[in-house]
Amino acid sequence: MTEGVDQRADAAHTLGEEKQGLLDAEFLAKVGKLDLVSRKILQGRMKGEKRSKKKGRSVEFADHRAYAPGDDLRFLDWNIYGRLDRLMIKLFLEEEDLHVYILVDASASMDYGRPNKFRYAQRIAAALGYIGLVNMNRVGIGVFSDKLDHVLRPERGRHNAYKLMRFLEDKKPQGKTDLAVACKRFALEHPRRGVVVIISDFLDRHGYEDAVRYFIARKADVFCLQILSEQELDPPLGGDLKLHDMEDGDDTEITVSGPLLKAYKKNLGLLLQGLQDFCAARGASYLTASTALPFDRLVLDYLRERGLVH
């Protein structure tokens, strides 16, 4: 156990030195101890590294669900039937190698804010990817704008960490956003179920609903991580301005006033709430993060609280 930790720390150190910009060694050492968690029972192609824990077919108890005809009768919970006279099937967590898909929004709108949203997204993707690789999960990454621009095929093993970092590091945000197109394409290309983390600002004129639906439909464990800068959450604007849209170059003339700011914030709130409600209704997870929040705290605290990592 101690050895394992040391090995991880070493790897993290090396990586940190090489890729100082994205993740530092200290942080990698911290996240190396974490693991990605799927709240759903997922099917892996190979047995994962925790396979030794499994005894026979039985795995860790997860939940009950109502019996449906065709279910394996061996999993019926007879105790409940005896007590409540209801047929319930016991569900078990299966530990398999987890597919982790990380989709990073690299549209022009991500190149905004201080700290930069795209940089922030890159680092989260890197951190999550690293956690996945270290824990022997298959980590695949897609970088998209209005289409799926780049894809890193799912790989496993920490030796792929450097590749992953370099893949992420190379990308520059550009183009418009079309979540639906990119996600559809990615879902088709990656039919395996797994954890899907969408890192985006979700500022898509066409809406985000279709995009999320493609993964939900495939029973993936979807995690929507919305990255917004402080400048978007509370615009520090005043006076008469011409707002230039970074994606489509559209100009809007505004005169900043109290009611206008209020309306903006209300609309932003509706967007966030809408995404949250949408995700909640479909069993997906959701988290909005401001780039003002220190990146390590997001990964080490917030994502942990939300159960993405543990």
Binding site: A108, S109, M110, Y112, G113, K117, D201, L203, R205, S229, E232, P235, P236, L237, G238, G239, D240, L241, K242, L243, H244, D245, M246, E247, D250, D251, T252, E253, I254, T255, V256, S257, G258, P259, L260, L261, A263, Y264, K266, N267, L268, L271
Partner: protein, 674 residues
């Protein structure tokens, strides 16, 4: 319509043009705001949330935008406040009452002092104060403040009628210039009182340095608000308080110049006094003048014969006008005198001794009364005829001294005689009484002469039995003669009738006990010769005080005189026939005046004459400003500024503009929105 708007605005603003400009400028700001060519461009990740917000607010309507823009609102307030400050708004303090202002402005010589006030003279500051009052007059449609301007020195001049037209008042103030005259508030108050009659809500403002003479007996109605605006600060000044040219005692040609220098300051001063004849320095003396005192300087030089002379203090002080005094020296001429007497050694000796009296082969022309009656001299042949105990039946035009005789003037008659009369008093100011003491005049008897109103008593007495002996009283100038006594027994008096001018002694010189033997007698004779014989008159006419009437002998044949004042202003005067003296009163400026007659057939009287006018007043040279003016036991304290009928508020608006600017800056930086 436009005029009435303008005059209405003038009630509230000193510069109303800015108020008229305000709508344009404010409108321009709003237009500029809408037409703002360059909005600040900001990149945002996506403006679709903003678009939605705009749609929500429907802020496309211009008024909505206007309403919401706190910065524009603040900028409009700032601009409005700046415009308000520029238009110099005023708060009318006088309330809604019509006021009648009487503004008395001192323009006397002392007002030319430049003490304090940034190089401005007292007069200029006084005019500024008057202008402030005029500016403060309110004019409404039905109710107008009115004002009248009175300038005063030793006389008062009504500059405007009682008017509500500020332009008229301002023009009058613009034309007003200081004079070199002395100050006398009395005349101005008299004028003001005439105006004040039955005027409600009257405000009397006296703008002066307070050297305005005795005003304690001057009353203004008690309901009149009186203000005294004091201009002037210090009293440090040197001035020539008097100048006199006298024929030198020795030498017939040269003159002596007497000048007195007054120091109105609180410290002893030493100054050089220079005497110039034409432009040449003749003499120079250094004098030390104690504070608040006068020191005399005498210049004597054989050069002082004819020409224009001025005496100058060689020092800089606040009031330059009194640092120079002018005099004209004229060639002296002898007095042609005829003595008509049966024999009077006192008169004969006394007149013969006088160097001014023209002699015929070293002898005084003397005729007997019979000769005089049989062959009266032609008019103008003699300057002075002395009639000793000769009662003339008729008198031709001319100057006469009558001793123990009365001129044949109507209304002048003797009613018996008084025995052993005593001198009660004499008029010290009279030219014949100069340097003469009549206290030793002791006659045996004198005629009781009943005088006419116009006759002027020089020496009066009372009969020894009636009034009892009293110490003779020397009357000061201006002091009224005790009427009862003077009318009772005039001993020496002056009487005029047309062009006959007489000095009458109502007693016989031969019947006096010792007076003709006293020093006073020859001096008295000298005075008579100089004054009545014309020599003295000439000297007097050559130098007057500013504001006094100059009397210039008119040569025969002249019909027109041109007087050129020291500022080269020409006054053309038409002469009436029969007058022998030109009386010129417009002597408000100190300096030399040239009088030129168009023709002269008279050898004696020149066609061109110079005379001088001088401030010559210790009161004017004493420029110490008075703290209060007392009007009939109503002291009016001096104020340094004219009572403002309205107060300027521009500072408030300037402060407001500044504060709102600060708020705007804060709002801009803190992004506060309404």
């Amino acid at each position: 319509m436009l005029d009435s708007v303008w005059s209405l605005l003038q009630n509230f603003f000193i510069a109303p043009e800015w108020v008229l400009a305000a709508p344009f400028l404010l409108g321009l700001l709003v237009i500029l705001y809408f037409l703002k060519l360059k909005r600040r461009q900001i990149e945002v990740s996506s403006n679709y949330l903003w678009k939605k917000a705009l749609e929500d607010l429907r802020v496309n309507s211009p008024f909505q935008r206007l309403r919401m823009n706190l910065l524009l609102l603040l900028q409009l307030i700032i601009l409005a406040a700046i415009l308000a400050a520029l238009s110099r708004p005023v708060a009318n303090l006088g309330g809604m009452t019509e006021h009648n202002h009487i503004i008395l402005i001192d323009r006397s010589a002392s007002m030319q002092a430049t003490d304090g006030g940034g190089g401005k003279t007292r007069f200029q500051r006084g005019v500024d104060e008057a202008r402030r009052i005029v500016d403060g007059l309110q004019s409404w449609k039905l109710m107008n403040d009115r004002a009248v301007l009175v300038a005063f020195d030793d006389q008062a001049e009504l500059l405007t009628p009682m008017t509500e037209q500020k332009t008229l008042l301002r023009e009058a103030l613009g034309r007003l210039a200081p004079t070199d005259r002395r100050t006398n508030l009395r005349a101005a108050i008299e004028v003001a009182r005439g105006i004040l009659n039955n005027l409600p809500h009257s405000v009397l403002t006296i703008i002066s340095d307070g050297k305005i003479g005795d005003t304690k007996d001057l009353a203004v109605p008690s309901d009149v608000e009186v203000h005294f605006v004091k201009v002037g600060e210090t009293g440090e000044n040197l001035g020539i308080a008097s100048i006199e040219v006298r024929r030198a005692f020795e030498g017939r040609e040269a003159s002596s110049v007497f000048a007195t220098v007054f120091n109105s300051g609180d410290e002893k001063k030493t100054a050089g006094i220079d005497c110039f004849l034409e432009e040449d320095l003749v003499a120079s003396k250094s004098v030390e003048i104690p504070p608040h005192e006068q020191t005399s300087v005498v210049f004597e030089s054989p050069k002082l014969r004819t020409g224009r002379l001025h005496v100058q203090i060689d020092a800089q002080d606040a009031l330059p006008v009194d640092d120079v005094a002018y005099a004209v020296l004229r060639e002296k001429k002898d007095v042609k005198l005829l003595l008509v007497t049966e024999g009077n050694p006192f008169l004969e000796r006394g007149l013969e001794e006088d160097r001014l009296v023209q002699k015929v082969g070293d002898k005084l022309p003397i005729v007997t009364p019979a000769e005089f009656a049989g062959n009266p001299p032609a008019t103008g042949l003699y300057d002075l005829i002395v009639l000793d105990r000769v009662e003339p039946k008729t008198l031709g035009p001319g100057n006469y001294m009558l001793v123990d005789a009365l001129p044949p003037f109507e209304g002048l008659r003797a009613k018996g005689t008084a025995e052993k009369p005593v001198v009660v008093d004499w008029d010290e100011a009279h030219p014949v009484a100069r340097f003469v003491s009549f206290g030793s005049l002791d006659m045996v008897s004198a005629r009781r002469v009943e005088l006419r109103k116009e006759d002027r008593v020089v020496v009066s007495g009372s009969s020894g039995g009636a009034g009892g002996r009293r110490a003779p009283h020397k009357r000061k100038p201006g002091e009224a003669a005790p009427e009862e006594e003077s009318s009772a027994l005039p001993l020496i008096f002056e009487a005029r009738d047309g062009d006959r001018h007489c000095l009458v002694l109502s007693f016989d010189l031969m019947k006096t006990q010792s007076w003709p033997l006293k020093t006073a007698f020859p001096v008295f004779l000298l005075n008579v010769v100089r004054w009545l014989g014309g020599a003295g008159r000439d000297e007097r006419a050559l130098a007057v005080r500013t504001g006094e009437v100059a009397e210039i002998p008119i040569p025969k044949g002249a019909t027109k005189a041109t007087v050129t004042d020291p500022h080269s202003g020409e006054h053309v005067l038409a002469l009436k026939g029969g007058e022998d003296l030109l009386r010129f009163a417009d002597t408000g400026i100190a300096g030399f005046y040239r009088v030129k007659f168009d023709a002269s057939t008279d050898k004696e009287t020149p066609a061109e004459v110079w005379f001088a006018a001088n401030v010559s007043s210790a009161d004017e040279s004493d420029i110490t400003p008075a703290a209060t003016v007392e009007l009939e036991s109503r002291p009016v304290k001096g104020e340094s500024k004219a009572e403002e009928a309205r107060r300027e508020l521009w500072k408030l608006f300037a402060v407001l503009a500044f504060l709102v600017l600060m708020v705007e800056w804060w709002v801009y930086n803190r992004r506060v929105y309404v």
